[in-house]
């Protein structure tokens, strides 16, 4: 099996070495009282840590002064999961989903094969996928008419949180999703424009240095889903060997048969009655991301744009499709389960379906690694002393200043008295 059921050789896996180096660089810098401008080694074609948007750059890195890199990253994962569930609870309440239906959404959101397999492969930035309910929550509020500054800044702050924790990929997928959502209805354009301005300002501390000293168009596109069969296999099937040179974790989107039924229900909600419902606003963006994750469509379109060139593997975009369709499907299931006739057997059916989601957990267990075998030889110091250069230092300084100013303004809007729609 290509991914060895999660039992990877961490010491020879570049992703793990990369994550360890990023965290250790902050630790080393904090303990020596300086900024981690340069790494001794290059990762993702750069050794400029502050210009690499897949590193953690949030205020809580200060905890690395006392915590080990491993403990810090576990803490990060727990925080993201906790925040994600808080947002999910508000989203489910906004969608008036019953706890039983919410349980199914909760299981797909937390235990889906995409996140689990990527985390298992050492892609620790994927913990920011657990922040995606924030995106859906604010889009739902905007879609139901609440396009206040509070909603705008809430959405932009959610996107900022992803970039702060190194989730650049998740940020890019979210931007595509929001753009598709906005383009679908002209009345959303101004809202989307304001969100774009907020997001640009709030993430300037990541985008400005990356644009100034890191931006590269030399990426090679690696692939999308080659066929519908592979996509369906990724949603419900067992892990397979590499396809087109890509390991299975790049295809894996396992949601089990119950999750698959929800996804199909959401995907099939194209009739007029369902189109009128508020959650249906996610249908078109979900379809757009599904199309972009297929074959080489992304390569010939967005891959040519700055920033979007980072998505060399377009299969990853399917996560937002899965979550979007799951939410739409759950709303449909909720209406079905709430019908007064035959409520008992309807509840029993949904409960039994919930129990059938247990294999998601057992599957996640397979991706947990075996105990350590061979420790790797690591450098005593991961930082390098080099002349910083004007463009690098200025872009970091100006980017941080813009982001701090925007953050102060955004938090002011968030503290404003919420409207009824925000409650």
């Amino acid at each position: 099996m290509v991914f060895r059921a999660g039992d990877l050789d961490w010491h020879v896996t570049n992703d793990w070495l990369k994550e360890w180096t990023y965290a250790t660089a902050w630790q080393e810098a904090l303990r020596h009282g300086r900024l981690p401008w340069f790494l001794a080694d290059s990762f993702q074609t750069t050794n400029r840590l502050l210009a690499n948007p897949e590193t953690v750059a949030s205020p809580h890195v200060i905890a690395l002064r006392w915590l080990s890199p491993g403990t810090f990253l576990v803490l990060n994962a727990a925080i993201c999961a906790g925040v994600g569930v808080v947002a999910l609870s508000r989203l489910c309440q906004a969608l008036t989903l019953s706890p039983l239906i919410s349980f199914a959404v909760f299981a797909v959101f937390l235990l889906n094969g995409h996140i689990v397999s990527h985390l298992s492969a050492g892609h620790l930035q994927w913990i920011t996928c657990w922040l995606l309910p924030c995106l859906f929550l604010f889009l739902f509020r905007a879609g139901t008419g609440d396009r206040t500054a509070r909603t705008e800044t809430g959405l932009a702050l959610s996107l900022m949180a992803m970039t702060m924790l190194g989730g650049w990929h998740v940020f890019v997928w979210s931007v595509i999703f929001v753009t598709a959502w906005a383009l679908a209805d002209r009345s959303r354009w101004m809202f989307a424009l304001r969100v774009a301005l907020w997001t640009g300002s709030l993430t300037a501390f990541r985008i400005a240095p990356a644009a100034a000293v890191y931006a590269s168009s030399a990426n090679i596109f690696l692939g999308g889903y080659p066929s519908v069969g592979v996509l369906v296999g990724a949603l419900v099937g067992e892990p397979r060997d590499a396809i087109n040179g890509l390991s299975w974790w790049e295809y894996d989107a396992f949601v089990g048969w119950v999750g698959f039924a929800l996804v199909c229900a959401g995907a099939g909600a194209i009739d007029r009655a369902r189109r009128a419902s508020a959650e249906h606003q996610w249908w078109l963006p979900s379809v757009v991301l599904l199309a972009l994750s297929s074959s080489d469509l992304y390569k010939w379109t967005l891959f040519r744009l700055p920033g979007f060139v980072s998505e060399r593997v377009s299969t990853r975009l399917v996560l937002l499709t899965v979550l979007g369709f799951t939410l739409i499907g759950s709303a449909i299931l909720n209406r079905w389960a709430a019908q007064p006739s035959g409520r008992l057997w309807r509840t029993a059916s949904v409960g039994a379906a919930g129990a059938l989601m247990l294999p998601l957990l057992f599957r996640a267990n397979l991706f947990r690694p075996a105990p350590a075998q061979v420790p790797a030889a690591l450098p005593a110091s991961v930082l390098a002393m080099q002349p910083v250069g004007l463009s690098y230092s200025v872009s970091v300084g100006i980017g941080a200043a813009i982001s701090l100013f925007a953050l102060a303004l955004a938090l002011r809007h968030q503290r404003a008295r919420p409207t009824l729609a925000n409650c």
């Binding site: 010491h11 793990w16 491993g70 808080v86 919930g354 247990l358």
Partner: protein, 101 residues
């Protein structure tokens, strides 16, 4: 999966519903944390608490009790954080310890 493990899971599900689903979940969550702290992170612990959450959701779905529903989300949040630690701690800590020795 072994038949015995499935039997264990079914027994846990029946037991959780028969006894009291809410209590099963509330007791199960600290048990999961305890197992984490003692490094006995078997899949059975998250599994039984997962089913506890499900059975609790069934109760709330039928009775529609606002406080129980809020408590359910609180428990779900705790479960998610527990899952993140259960899943990622071995991966991250093992990955790191393999490098640091």
């Amino acid at each position: 999966m072994a038949v015995a493990q499935w039997a264990w899971v079914v027994a846990a599900l029946v037991g959780a519903i028969a006894a009291n689903s809410s209590i099963a979940a509330v007791v199960g969550l600290p048990a999961a944390l305890l197992m984490q702290l003692t490094h006995r992170s078997a899949v059975q612990v998250p599994a039984i608490t997962f089913l506890g959450l499900l059975s609790w959701a069934v109760v709330v779905h039928v009775r529609r009790h606002a406080l129980l529903e809020r408590l359910w989300w609180f428990a779900a949040g705790l479960w998610a954080m527990g899952f993140a630690v259960w899943f990622s701690a071995p991966a991250i800590l093992t990955g790191m310890s393999r490098m640091t020795g």
